[in-house]
Every structure is written in C-alpha cells, then in structure tokens.
Amino acid sequence: MTVFVAVQTDDFCQASEYDELRRNAGCGAIVTFCGLVRDLQSTTLSGMTLEHYPGMTEKALKDIAYKAKSRWELGAVHIIHRVGYLKPNAQIVFVGVASAHRAAAFSACEFIMDYLKNQAPFWKKEHTTEAEYWVASKDSDKVALARWEH
C-alpha cells in the first residue's frame, strides 16, 4: 500500500491528489474527503490558526493510515493537513483512499477522519473581529471514534 502523509502551510490541489491515487494498480474505487474552515460560533470569523506538534503529527497520521490498512484492503492512502493561519473557506484537510471496492474506500476514509479528529495533535484557534479562542473538542467526535473500537 502507498501511504502519503504531509503536514504543510501550503494549500493542496484535490485534483492532483486524485490523479496520484488513480495510478494505483487494481484500484476500482477512490473516496476523498476535504475539510474546510467554517464559521462555528459567529458570523464574524476572520480566520483560524492551526497549531501542531511537529514530528508527532506526521507519525500520528501514518499510524492512522496503517491502522486503516489493517482493517480494509487498501491500495493507497493520502492524508494532507494544513497548519498556520487559514481564512474562512480555506481547505484544512484532505483524505483520499484508493481500494479495489467502494465499501472499503468509504469506510476507511471515515475511519481515518474519525481517528485524525481524536488522535492527531492539531489544535484550532479561531479569530473573530472581537476576540480569539481555542476551539473545544467535541463529544460527538469521541462518539464517532467509539463505533470503530470493537
């Protein structure tokens, strides 16, 4: 399986990632997910800063990709996560999974996002026109993770 992981300030191109995933021999299905900056609590969001733990982030993302591989037959996994200052509507995260069959690709993509949300060391700080605050973790993310732990 090909695993590609990147943590970067630069934006990414979903089409290029998709083309890379398509090169995978025997791949019959590709599922991709893209997370964007959205306004969570107010209409005055000016942007957000993504902090991370350099070194551990890359390691955690690779671990998550291989964890997915141990559950489904996957041809390739690409995970890209941006850090630094991002404006509303900017792309934050990309997950792309190539597999022989769609069921595995759908499940693995969700699995990777659920683990990333709970275990990869990234933190969001939102900036509004009035203030800045750290985003609190959500119980719904923990619930989403729990469904895979059986």
Binding site: H52, Y53, G55, A120, F122, W123, W134, A136, S137
Partner: protein
C-alpha cells in the same frame, strides 16, 4: 533530565513551550505532573486538569506511563484538528 513540551491553550496558560525537568527517574507521567505543578500557582492550576493529554516520545500514553531520563514528554489539551 526530561524534556517537557506544552502546546496550544496549555502553552499559553503556562507562558512556556519547552521546559527541562530535573526530577528523579524513572518516574510516571502522574509524578512528573506533580513535580511541574510545584513551579508556581499558575502551573499548579493549569496542569491539574483531568482532560490533559500526554505523549512520550511522540506517542500518546496514559498518565500511568513510565518516564525515563532523556524522554521527550508533551502535554496538551484534547486535539481539535481535521
């Protein structure tokens, strides 16, 4: 000697991103936290939260995990990426 790192809201509350702890080893994450809490009142409060996550050498661990000299130990709030 243990290299201790702090991230995000915790880093801001402590006004510190990196600290060298000189405590007896081997120890546990729990004991290391108690040692760090003695630094001052601000640290005492910020490092006593039950939600605090910990990683040793960049792998997430529980607070009962063992810490040895030379380890890189990181403390941080629950993660919010994605």
């Amino acid at each position: 000697m243990i290299k201790v790192l702090f991230f995000a809201a915790l880093r801001e509350r402590l006004h510190c991103d990196q600290y060298t702890a000189h405590c007896a080893t081997p120890t546990t994450v729990e004991s290391l936290l108690l040692h760090l809490q003695q630094h001052n009142e601000q640290w005492q409060q910020a490092l006593s939260g039950t939600e605090l996550l910990c990683a040793i050498n960049q792998t997430m661990v529980s607070h009962s995990a063992e810490v040895v000299a030379g380890d890189e130990v990181a403390f941080f709030p629950p993660v919010t990426g994605g």
